[in-house]
Amino acid sequence: MKIFWNAFRVQRRVIFALILRETRTRYGKTRIGYLWALFEPLAHMLIFAAIFSFTGRTSPLGGSVALLVLTGLFPYNLFSNLSTQLMNAVEANKVLLSYPHVTPFDVMASRTILEVATQMIVFIFVLLILAIQNLWDMQINSFLSMLLVIFVGVALGAGMGLINAVLAFKFPSYANIFGLIMRPMYFLSGIFFVVGYMSSEIQGIMYYNPVAHLIEWFRSAIYVGYTSEFLDKHYLLHFTLTVLFLGLLLLRLSRHKIRQSK
């Protein structure tokens, strides 16, 4: 029992150290560096919200277009950033894996924590801006469902990221292929429109995209009175659990090989 407790303490220490180091290498040395990291997705959301507002589009769900964009982009970014950040985690932390304490799992865990924290801060920040600008009526349909969807989104993104990490390690060109797959995903996930209001043919195609379900579920949790006909929670949960299990399994099986590589 004591051994496990010790191992847990070491792991907690290592993950904390990795997070601190990562903020340094990725966001630079100044304290303002991390603010830049927040600024990028923030600008992403605000620019799209502004464009759609100015072109006079209205939200099919009622309320502002800005809220529509935010509730689409946040779950999407959560998935997309986690899956690519974890894919590149091994390469970025290769040197540190020479320390016996630092395991590939720690590297993945620290990136996940940092990424989720960053995305959450940005989401809350944009929500506040929308509230101040009267673009959000400060109502949430179900706070608990919202947290649950975020949790599912993290599991889905991290699971995919783990699979990506192992595949990119074994086949270096995989990273490019995944990038290619992700590009149309941006338009096929229902960020800028509501899948539930699309024709049944379009819904049929998008049905297989788990991120479309993630966004629909997220919107059902935020918008009062919106129940999505499209949303299939079972499909999303099954998909997520499979991906997460597969990702953890692949990482476990290849952890020694990942360590050994130079």
């Binding site: 904390f16 150290a17 290498t25 040197v95 894996l97 020479s98 320390y99 016996p100």
Partner: protein, 214 residues
């Protein structure tokens, strides 16, 4: 204490496989300084990584008690884009060492001066090795794993390293890989000679060196 139980380790090499350790078993108690000899590619550095736990054996078990350092070598795990000081902070955190006292010690010992706050990527090999050596001396371990790091820098620095090492070896033990027979003679109580997957253990250093040079 370090114990190998039927440990095997091979590397994929092109289409074939290079066997570095073939069903090796041994056990050494705490307090014994061990030198590892072998020609290039015999698996000395890999053996050190196995002892440290930064690599896993293909087969068998490795049991260690006490705290072991990471393998200290020229290619020590420093992140090039970060400064020497930032690298120190990271390593202190993972080993739960006191950051302030380690940085102070390393600054004094390594004589890197302001370079300690410059990115490690700008360091020369000698500077890196000085940083690595100073850092390893700053953190307390029961066993220090040393990969060809002796003989760094000028004569004065070498003398300093030697003194620090002698001081350390009073409480801790050392497992080292070296090509330098004088270093092996000076620090080892036992010598392991690696060749073709086998490990021969010599308690007589001269005998080991003779067999290695044969």
């Amino acid at each position: 204490m370090i114990e190998f139980k039927n440990v095997s380790k091979a590397y994929a090499l092109g289409s074939g496989k290079k066997i570095l350790l073939d069903n090796i078993s041994f056990r050494f108690e705490q307090g014994l300084n061990i030198g590892i000899l072998g020609v290039n590619g015999a698996g000395k550095s890999t053996a050190l990584k196995l002892i440290a736990g930064s690599e896993a054996p293909d087969k068998g078990r490795i049991i260690r008690s006490g705290t072991f350092s990471w393998p200290l070598g020229f290619s020590a795990g420093f992140q090039g884009s970060l400064s020497g000081e930032e690298n120190l902070r990271f390593i202190c955190r993972i080993y739960a060492a006191n950051i302030r006292s380690v940085i102070k010690f390393v600054a004094d010992f390594s004589e890197l001066g302001d370079a300690l706050y410059e990115p490690v990527a700008t360091y020369s090999t000698g500077m890196r090795a000085r940083l690595a050596f100073a850092l390893s001396m700053a953190i307390e371990f029961d066993v220090y794993l040393v990969d060809e790091i002796m003989g760094v820098g000028d004569r004065l620095f070498q003398q300093k390293c030697r003194d620090a090492f002698v001081e350390k070896s009073k409480q801790s033990s050392i497992i080292m890989v070296s090509h330098n027979m004088n270093t092996i003679r000076e620090y080892s109580d036992v010598v392991l000679v690696l060749s073709n997957g086998n490990v021969d253990i010599y308690e007589d250093i001269e005998e080991a060196i003779a067999s290695y040079e044969k």
